[in-house]
Symmetry: C2
Subunit: 637 residues, 2 copies
């Protein structure tokens, strides 16, 4: 690792003086209970991270040996600086008063700190050296998010906005907006949703009118659900704003993307109001420290924005959707990461609590007296379901990030294309499978706590309240499931997705007869793969029969089956690594139980979760169309 | 219906003057969206309610013709008087200050109103005429609970306490406590849980010491999670208190039950403090208007209580657990009802919202333009899953209530015994299946709303926060599952539960060949029944092999399968009634879509939910013992 990077990392420790300042006056529930061992395992022992480090962009800055230190430093920062702000978000939620939005006090200082120290938008700076590849940055964000998911939205959105400006902005636009976005003076957002257009982004009403200044448009429209849309933590807000240029085509093709700052930046660098008004913030179930704003642009006809890219006046088509999707795809992966961070943190809290709480006697050994409830089978089952599923989700997320890095940086164009396809196939699964499972998994973590799980003094109730949005934002999980079936399955005439399935088949064939102790697990993975192939065939048959309604009827269940199949493959792949380690280590070795746990995760998942894949096959084969036939009026009862 | 009862019912309308008073100053989200058609169907067209009405206890007071009016009156009361208080609980939660507990203002008046008008504890008065049988009272409570579940806890607990005193109190105790409990001046609680003993009630530390006054004991102990444990809505709190008499056996056999009032009642009727101190209230995820109190009894050694029943000094055994279980069994059914009320209310809110919200185009007909989202297949799927499952749960709950009425009132002792057995078999399912499904069902209702579902201005976020406790209190759902497998399966050497399964077999044999249009549904029910029998056999085998750990490993999944099997049987039974009606009614008939919806519920449930039963069989047959083998240390990762 270069000295410069070491300095960057070590700065975290140096600046821990901030810690006491942030903690001042904040009474906090102990809720950051993250463990980084699985992240380190995935990066060091499972993924070919050295391949990523070897790319020109990263070469020489990092090696696998640096990973422990990077993870540990971010863990320390998360524990000491970020986690203490979590309660502040709960106890002093974002509020709106007289046109202004106020954040919890500790968030403001933390936002500046994270950005200034290069853990936020600066990490995507293409011109900078020593930025951290996504494969590594994603799990680092996971750790930070677990410490305060409401806060991390401000970082994530600013990263996304800066990334879009970097990709599509003119030199002038980049010069104006990138430096303050990267150093934490300003913040970024993405403005898609309107009161009457959410999932249906092609129906937005926001408009843009050309002005005499080339590249500058007059902007008009209302946006809602804008995460980080306003606050007192930044001097300016840079909105990436979807609108239709006057006269452009209807639907998604006519949409363009604009950079619309809250304060217009004059040539001399001074700021003046840009007719962007905040009209309120949502009172949400969770993520109470995150400002979800409603914004009115151009109510006084004096709002201006910079067009990103170009507008095709002849065909009346904009580039907005394609541009936004560059950001959106990565935000979808990030959303899965956020859901994972909240879920895994709840799991580790439940594991810690149940390891302390004494209640009941073991059915298998009642004479031994009362025991910690972690020894009860049903508690272990809830924890193991959580452990196995969060590890499966983490594996899917990290693989997706890995493919994205390969896509962006591999010298071989064929390999870039292949990796890009794999990333696209996995993205809806990484987003939706993780955020779907999160709800029931956290439900079980609450259950493991018993009555205290229902009390806000303990952290799992908040986890449930925080996590529910991730199945909705960045495209609802239904949208993800239709993306999977309607786009990803059919990419390259189906060859891309078939490649993913072939990889599973190859893995089974390669290992099933040479690996001792996982016979049943390989049988189940093989059966799940065959079921999945059958599901694809059945759905193709329904399409051919024009039974189109069965696609959306089954799409979410099929997405779940996809997550279970792919997650099972990755978990079993990891278990083979862990099994080898177990054989080399003594039972007393400090790492032995980690590897044993990895094997248990795979085993539990393969034998208790994966069988759902063939249940889904059976349901798809039945093709029940009650959902399609039932009239909406029946739901009045 | 007798004039007296009509008066009682009509009084609701007369007293609606209270409505404006209660609504004063309360800004409320429209969230009571209940529909009573399925309740009326179950009571009038499915259950033999006339059999209950014919019992001596009820004879002459009600007939089936009165049911519509009863339900409608309670609906009106719930809508006009109870629902407006719901937001008050959210916006002015219960709080604790200087040793006292304060309820939302509107709750206090409402509590008195409900009790005074006979909708609460007075309805269990055995001496009174014209009380409403449980089969009818349970769904009436369901409607009331949907309007404000936090409030209904005060009513339910007072009912339970009054019921226990009625059953086991001496004449003196009854005279002191029953009248003020029934007229709403006082409130009741049940005090089981202690800081170190929750599920494990046999380990309670609370003690009772004899005094010179026969039947009166000195009481000492700390209790937590006491629902309705204190407040400013009642002049006295009557705690049904579990404690061990000094010298009694350890474990559950040594426990006795005491009536411990907050204020001791002197012979002249005056009250004086009884050394019962409230030490705090929990800050809960939901049910914020419900006081969950921590209470200290006898810290100054001057707390007294009345023993209920007797103490066997020779064997050192108390009657407390048996007595408490009388109350507990019904409270478990009531808990299922509460979970149902919150879930169904969220479902109907989601149905109403999705019927208004316009977004997207239909995949099957994109040219038709934008549509209400209730027309999208995935939204319909979420709603239908909710509709079918809540109807299955309602059917299980009502059947249980019906069996309880038969058990209590049928003149034939054999039939009473049979019905009691059936009620016992169904009780853990009614409690746990309903409260387990509630979490994922409300998750889908939030999902159906999209982003607004995450905002507290809409009612579904609160529904999720309110509902989670029901899977925990009154015995966690794991306790319920072990009750099912360990007690209910083996009652009468297995004959009782086998009777329930034989009834399903009989239903299939009787109808499968004579009923047109439900062929696949009967096949699935039959297959589920065979799977269930196989599950029982497999579990018996594990017991015989002394693989005891597999019982708790699978018990909750088996409980779910039980709910799915029994729920499917009831839904299909109801669908046959509905199908007959459909054939007799024109499609234009106002009730046609209701019956069509009943058939759709059964069909969806049988073909999309029930197949899980054979998946559970497969998992049980695999008998994976990873859960048992994994060491607790593995959960540190």
């Amino acid at each position: 690792m270069e000295q410069k990077q070491q300095d960057k990392l070590i700065s975290v420790t140096a600046k821990l003086g901030l810690k006491n300042f942030l903690k001042e006056g904040i009474k906090m529930a102990a809720n950051f209970s993250y463990n980084t061992r699985d992240i380190k395992f995935a990066l060091k022992e499972w993924l070919p991270t050295e391949e990523i480090f070897s790319y020109d962009k990263y070469n020489g800055y990092y090696s696998k040996q640096d990973l422990d230190m990077m993870v540990d430093q971010v863990y320390k920062m998360s524990s000491d600086l970020i986690a203490p702000t979590n309660d502040d978000g709960e106890k002093s939620p974002v509020y709106f008063d007289n046109g202004k939005v106020y954040l919890p006090a500790s968030f403001k200082k933390l936002y500046r700190y994270i950005q200034e120290n290069g853990w936020g938008a600066a990490n995507i700076d293409e011109a900078a050296e020593g930025t951290i590849p996504y494969t590594v940055y994603l799990p680092l964000m996971e750790i930070m998010s677990a410490a305060n998911p409401a806060f991390m939205a401000y970082i994530g959105l600013t990263n996304g906005a800066a990334g879009l400006i970097q990709s599509y902005g003119s030199e002038q636009v980049k010069k104006i907006f990138l430096p303050p976005l990267m150093d934490g003076s300003w913040a970024g957002t993405m403005c898609l949703t309107e009161p009457t257009a959410g999932s249906d982004v092609g129906d937005i009403l926001a408009k843009a009118y050309p002005t005499d200044d080339p590249g500058i448009y007059r902007i008009k429209g209302s946006k809602i659900f804008i995460t980080g849309g306003d606050g007192d933590h930044a001097d300016n807000f840079v909105h990436l704003f979807l609108a239709r240029i006057d006269g452009a085509k209807p639907g998604v093709k006519g949409i363009s993307l604009f950079v619309v700052p809250k304060y217009w930046v004059n040539e001399d660098g001074t700021l003046e109001p840009n007719d962007v008004e905040t009209t309120g913030v949502e009172h949400k179930m969770g993520l109470k420290g995150s400002a979800t704003a409603a914004l009115a642009f151009g109510d006084n006809n004096s709002c201006r924005g910079w067009l990103l890219g170009s507008y095709d006046a002849e065909n009346k088509e904009g580039q907005g959707m394609a541009q936004m999707f560059q950001m959106m795809n990565e935000e979808r992966v990030n959303t899965g990461m956020l859901a994972l961070s909240v879920t895994a943190n709840a799991y580790w809290n439940a594991a810690a609590y149940t390891g302390e709480r004494v209640q009941g006697r073991l059915m298998t050994n009642p004479g031994a007296g009362r025991t910690q409830i972690i020894n009860h089978e049903d508690v272990k089952r809830m924890l193991l379901l959580n452990k196995a599923t969060t590890e499966a989700c983490r594996a899917i997320l990290l693989k997706t990030a890995y493919y994205i890095d390969v896509e962006h940086h591999d010298p071989n164009p064929d390999r870039r294309k292949w990796a890009g396809g794999m990333a696209q196939c996995l993205t809806p699964v990484a987003k939706a499978y993780t955020s779907d499972e999160a709800w029931s998994l956290i439900g079980e973590s609450i259950q493991a706590y018993g009555g205290y799980g229902y009390c806000e003094e303990y952290p799992v109730a908040q986890a449930a309240r925080d996590v529910k949005i991730y199945s909705i934002w960045e495209g609802t999980n239904y949208i993800q499931s239709m993306d999977l079936l309607g786009r990803k399955w059919v990419m390259g005439k189906g060859a891309v997705f078939a490649g993913l399935l072939k990889e599973i088949d190859y893995f089974i064939k390669k290992n099933k007869d040479t690996t001792v102790g996982f016979e049943k697990e390989f049988i189940n993975l093989g059966r799940a793969l065959q079921s999945y192939l059958a599901i694809q065939k059945l759905m193709a048959g329904y399409m051919a029969d024009k039974q189109f309604g069965l696609i959306p009827t089954f799409s979410r269940r099929i997405l779940t089956a996809t997550g279970q199949l792919v997650g099972a493959y990755y978990l079993l792949d990891q278990a083979l690594v862990a099994d080898k380690q177990m054989k080399e280590l003594a039972e007393e070795h400090y790492d032995y139980n980690f590897y044993r746990g990895k094997v248990a995760s795979a085993r539990y998942f393969l034998r208790n979760v994966v069988p759902n894949v063939w249940l889904v096959e059976e349901l798809v084969a039945d093709g029940d169309n009650t959902v399609i036939d039932v009239p909406p009026e029946a739901f009045q009862y």
